[in-house]
């Protein structure tokens, strides 16, 4: 359905076309979106807990977590509100390296990421391992600001960005795929931008 009089638009540059998922536009800035106030988490109060169901597997404080191997990851990111940002440079700890440090193999196929503000989001284990995802500690070489999820946020760049939970404080293995905060409020259970899985009834 062509909209009368709509023709110009903010078209992506031609060389970037293949990098922009359907329904997205290219954003140069870094918009901030979140469901509540921005928590100010001090690194001395910070911790990250790996859990299997209710049972803690291992807990790290800020210094212990920062001693894990740091990996650089520069990726395009895609927000469900329709902006895409190219080449965002992060550094952090791969989920693979967290599991290795804890000395565990994933005990289930699903996880729920937890944040200091009570936010949760579900991500299958297959989308977190094999170098696909990290707990990011730095953006553009500097500590991540509170607005963008610092001290630490999950980074799962191949899914819509609500999956990359801000103010992360834990990852919990779950037996089933448990919907998180936005997944319980109408958003897609998986969230693949290339299949445009924005809302729960998208295929």
């Amino acid at each position: 359905m062509v909209t009368r009089g709509f023709s110009s638009g903010r078209r992506p540059p031609t060389d970037g076309d293949a990098r922009i998922p359907p329904g997205q536009y290219l954003e140069q800035g870094f918009p901030v979106l979140s469901a509540g106030p921005t928590p100010r988490v001090r690194t001395q109060d910070w911790s990250f807990t790996l859990k299997h169901g209710p049972r803690p597997i291992k807990k790290w404080n800020w210094a212990e977590f920062n001693a894990l191997p740091l990996t650089k990851m520069t990726r395009d990111i895609h927000c469900v509100t329709a902006w895409t940002k190219f080449d965002t440079p992060w550094q952090g700890v791969l989920v693979d390296d967290i599991l290795a440090d804890a000395g565990v193999e994933p005990p289930t196929g699903f996880t729920l990421a937890h944040a200091f503000d009570g936010y949760t989001t579900n991500v299958p284990v297959a989308d977190l391992t094999a170098g696909k995802a990290m707990v990011a500690l730095l953006y553009e070489g500097k500590p991540i600001t509170p607005d963008h999820g610092g001290p630490a946020r999950l980074l799962v760049p191949h899914l819509y960005f609500w999956k990359s939970a801000k103010w992360l404080n834990g990852l919990q293995f779950t037996t089933r795929d448990e919907p998180g905060f936005w997944e319980l409020r109408g958003y897609h259970i998986y969230g693949d931008p290339w299949r445009e899985q924005r809302y729960m009834d998208d295929p």
């Binding site: 359905m1 909209t3 903010r10 800035g29 918009p31 106030p37 928590p39 729960m200």
Partner: protein
């Protein structure tokens, strides 16, 4: 839990049935969806425009109308100079035009009426739009839930829905309107002439007969960050504050 999963709907055609200029930069578009839908105060819709070559642009807009206005929905759209979709609405769109719409969407920034208690609403600029839906819903139901709205704009002439808000305030039925102008002198006794701050939030909450059950804050990211922090510093628990940010 207070947030039921949103009922979803596929894309549908909607036509513009009326256009009303609200302020120099904000215009209301009244839309008739081909398949009218029920929604809750605070929800939004996605709008999709398609160019002749197939290029599409989509944006989310909050609904300004009350759920009681069956059928036609009102979107109040601010013109963004570097925008992609809002210039179409402001410069091209006319009564009778059609485009694609999807909704209602969003299950968090909605008023959980049954158990929330008094409400604090804080809006910056066009961030007042979803809050207006809540206020209209309250008025349509003759609800007695105490509500205070703190609405921040630069100048008096940018107060979206000004006459209607003042009329609601004058009903003296438990709704208090507080306007704060950041670039002009205050005009009403309840009003301020500065940016939102802790003292203003403390005073706003004292207008309620009991502490608020929930606060809704909507506007630009800078506005929402400042207002939400001011509410926390004024003693409101962070878990009671729901925010919606334009993202910029």
């Amino acid at each position: 839990m207070s947030d039921a999963a949103a009922v979803q709907s596929p894309w549908q055609t909607a036509g513009i049935v009326r256009i009303e200029k609200r302020t120099p930069r904000v215009t209301s578009f009244f839309l008739q969806p081909s398949r009218p839908f029920a929604y809750r105060a605070g929800q939004h819709v996605d709008v999709r425009l398609t160019a002749p070559d197939g290029y599409q642009a989509r944006r989310s807009y909050s609904i300004a109308s009350a759920p009681e206005t069956h059928g036609v929905i009102e979107l109040a759209i601010e013109k963004l100079d570097d925008g992609e979709v809002s210039p179409f609405f402001h410069e091209v769109a006319a009564v009778g035009d059609e485009f694609e719409l999807r909704g209602p969407l969003g299950g968090h920034f909605v008023w959980p009426e049954d158990e929330s208690g008094p409400l604090v609403l804080v809006g910056g600029g066009s961030g007042v739009v979803p809050l207006m839906s809540m206020l209209r819903h309250r008025a349509a139901r003759n609800s007695a839930v105490p509500v205070v709205l703190v609405f921040s704009v630069r100048v008096w002439d940018e107060v979206i829905f000004r006459d209607e808000l003042i009329a609601l305030d004058e009903r003296q039925d438990g709704f208090d309107l507080v306007l704060t102008l950041t670039r002009e002198a205050a005009r009403r006794p309840a009003d301020y002439a500065r940016r939102v701050d802790v003292a203003m939030m403390v005073q706003a909450m004292t207008r309620l007969p009991e502490p608020p059950g929930v606060a809704f804050v909507c506007g630009s990211n800078a506005f929402v960050s400042a207002a939400a922090q001011a509410l926390i510093d004024a003693g409101l628990a962070a878990q009671k504050i729901r925010t919606e940010r334009y993202g910029v």
